[in-house]
């Protein structure tokens, strides 16, 4: 059992204000140029923090895996010179929903698989993380992916209660962040309110998958479902938004940039998308996932079969971002349930006939 404390309303701004004074803090806030739009960004004033927010468009993984980052710089001298560049400053990432916490742990595991990648864990080691509980919208389905109550990868976790937040202290680093004036002991009443919040959250979840992750993997493995992929793909634009908004997608591209003088530059790592036509293209024009339906299929199999079999859990947190982002209305819950239900229907007919 983690220690549970209470941070009353009046202490919240002071607490985050102090974190901001201590070092950089990234958290959910309104985009300056777009009032009402909440995204993860650096905070200079605790009053800007929005702990009660709906799922952001871009997940907080960007704090550790930025959309574009420099791997190293080079100078075309003789011999050529290569210089490593890394951010070293520590920071705090705050206001992360349980599904996004689950995603951080998934990327911890994916990047740690031998041979282990080093940028992700180095960036993770720079940051303390504070999670916060939330209420679902019609796209969320985290109860189907076992991430609704995730406390992975965080030092403190906040659950809204009447007098403020119930604070779960999960690590020594989390304990370090708190001061006596921030918190008081939690009572049974506080704990019951937090429990009630979680019950309300699960009860408010309208979207769900009609099979367990294991049943879904077995259904996907049992047959090709080619017709369905072709139907879905006929609506897809291959825009890649489903990947760029996904907290568990970790594929990337590597490209070089020259400075204007052409005497030096940098090697960049950037987010990539398996839905883009050139993702699997090689010289000579061979494309190993030439057809759109093959790319659509790949996204489902990677998340619900390949990575599921490797790591023992689906690489989908149920955050619903891909469905919200898709202008072609390709909804991950609807498509997945269609696969499940068609497979079950076929099974029933098989048994009868």
């Amino acid at each position: 059992m983690p220690t549970e404390l209470v941070m009353p309303h009046e202490a919240v701004e002071r607490f985050f204000g102090r974190l901001i004074d201590e070092g950089p803090v990234m958290g959910p806030r309104e985009r300056v140029s777009q009032p009402g739009f909440i995204h993860f960004d650096w905070l200079s004033d605790a009053a800007d923090l929005r702990l009660n927010y709906q799922t952001t468009t871009i997940p907080p993984k960007k704090a550790f895996f930025p959309p574009r980052e420099v791997l190293f710089e080079f100078e075309l001298t003789d011999p050529l010179k290569i210089t490593a560049v890394r951010e070293a400053e520590s920071f705090t990432l705050v206001g992360v929903h349980p599904c996004d916490l689950a995603a951080l742990r998934m990327l911890d595991d994916a990047y740690a698989r031998e041979p282990a990648e080093a940028c992700w864990p180095a960036n993770r080691a720079r940051a303390r993380v504070i999670g916060v509980d939330c209420m679902p919208d019609e796209y969320c389905f985290c109860t189907s992916t076992d991430s609704c109550y995730s406390r992975a990868a965080c030092d403190l976790f906040l659950t809204p209660i009447e007098r403020g937040y119930l604070v779960e202290v999960l690590t020594p680093a989390g304990e370090d962040m708190l001061r006596v004036s921030d918190v008081s002991e939690a009572t049974d009443e506080d704990r019951e309110q937090a429990e009630a919040f979680r019950r309300e959250k699960a009860g408010a979840m309208t979207a769900r998958l009609d099979a367990t992750p294991e049943e879904l993997a077995e259904i996907l493995e049992s047959e090709e479902h080619t017709e369905l992929w072709k139907e879905i793909a006929s609506r897809c634009y291959s825009c890649g938004s489903c990947n760029t908004t996904c907290p568990t997608c970790f594929c990337f591209d590597i490209n070089d940039e020259f400075d204007l003088g052409l005497t030096g530059g940098r090697r960049m790592r950037s987010w990539d998308s398996c839905q883009l036509a050139e993702f699997a293209l090689v010289a000579g024009g061979h494309n190993f996932r030439r057809l759109r339906w093959q790319r659509v299929r790949h996204r489902w199999y990677r998340k619900f079969v390949y990575l599921y079999r490797t790591f023992g859990r689906p690489y989908c947190t149920g955050c619903g971002r891909c469905s919200r982002a898709c202008t072609a209305d390709i909804n991950i819950v609807d498509v997945t349930n269609e696969i499940i239900n068609r497979a079950r229907e076929r099974d029933r007919q098989g048994v009868q006939g």
Partner: protein, 294 residues
Amino acid sequence: MIDHDAVPPAEDITRFYQPELARVIGKWQMTEMMVLLRLQPASGERLDHAPGQFLQISLPGYGEAPISFCSSPTQTDSFELCVQSVGNLSEALHDLRPGDFVGVRGPYGHGFPVEDMRGRDVLIVAGGIGIAPLRSLINYMADRRRDFGRVIIVYGARNPSERLFVEDVEAWDARDDFETWFTVDEPDETWTGMTGVVTVPLREVEIDPARTTAAVVGPPVMYRYVAMELLNKQMAEDDILFSLERRFKCGMGKCGHCQLNDLYVCQDGPVFRYTQLIGRTEAIEVWAPDEQKG
């Protein structure tokens, strides 16, 4: 839990992506499209590759690409790469001169299982630039000749002027203990050898299927026909090795570009047994012929 005091220094973090320097010590234009580069790590250390492995070569500013070792690991003072000019980086690699530096990371991937091949007959099937990784294996077997049974080399090129490693090919041909079959698709007046795609001589080759391992590298279109030919010879699927090409970015099982169903070609391959590929829908060059329709 994360240890917040344990952020390693920048060089250690980016080591995963950061190449070491290697010096070009020789360069030969083999054909219009192909150069052979001989390289030496600037550190003086050996790369110690296995035949069939690859490295990531880079020219900062132009990018990075996977290239197979084409020299034998028994050649220890340097290593060789054969580069086809197809795009940005490969064209720039054609402009290198001896003394220039490039970046290299590797060796990576699973090459040919030479330990498992000891004592067995080895049937090499090379199409076009596929001869490059196979030259590494062939010259390795030449230096360790007693470790292997028969060595049979079937090599097909589009036309006589596109044949690579002509000196090696002549040396293999001259050995009594190598059996060689050379063919070209489009002969010219200088050509006295066989004509036709690589399956034409392959059909004639007689093997003892139980004793033979086949190592096959060529353009994607070649694999399915070679597989049929080898299965006709009663070879076991497990004894047929294919080296596959995919788009690579990281070479270390992370960027996702090379994925073939659940396999990462850069890590689990690039050399696979046919048995590993059967049933995997994305092994489109060796299997799943229906995949490419509509």
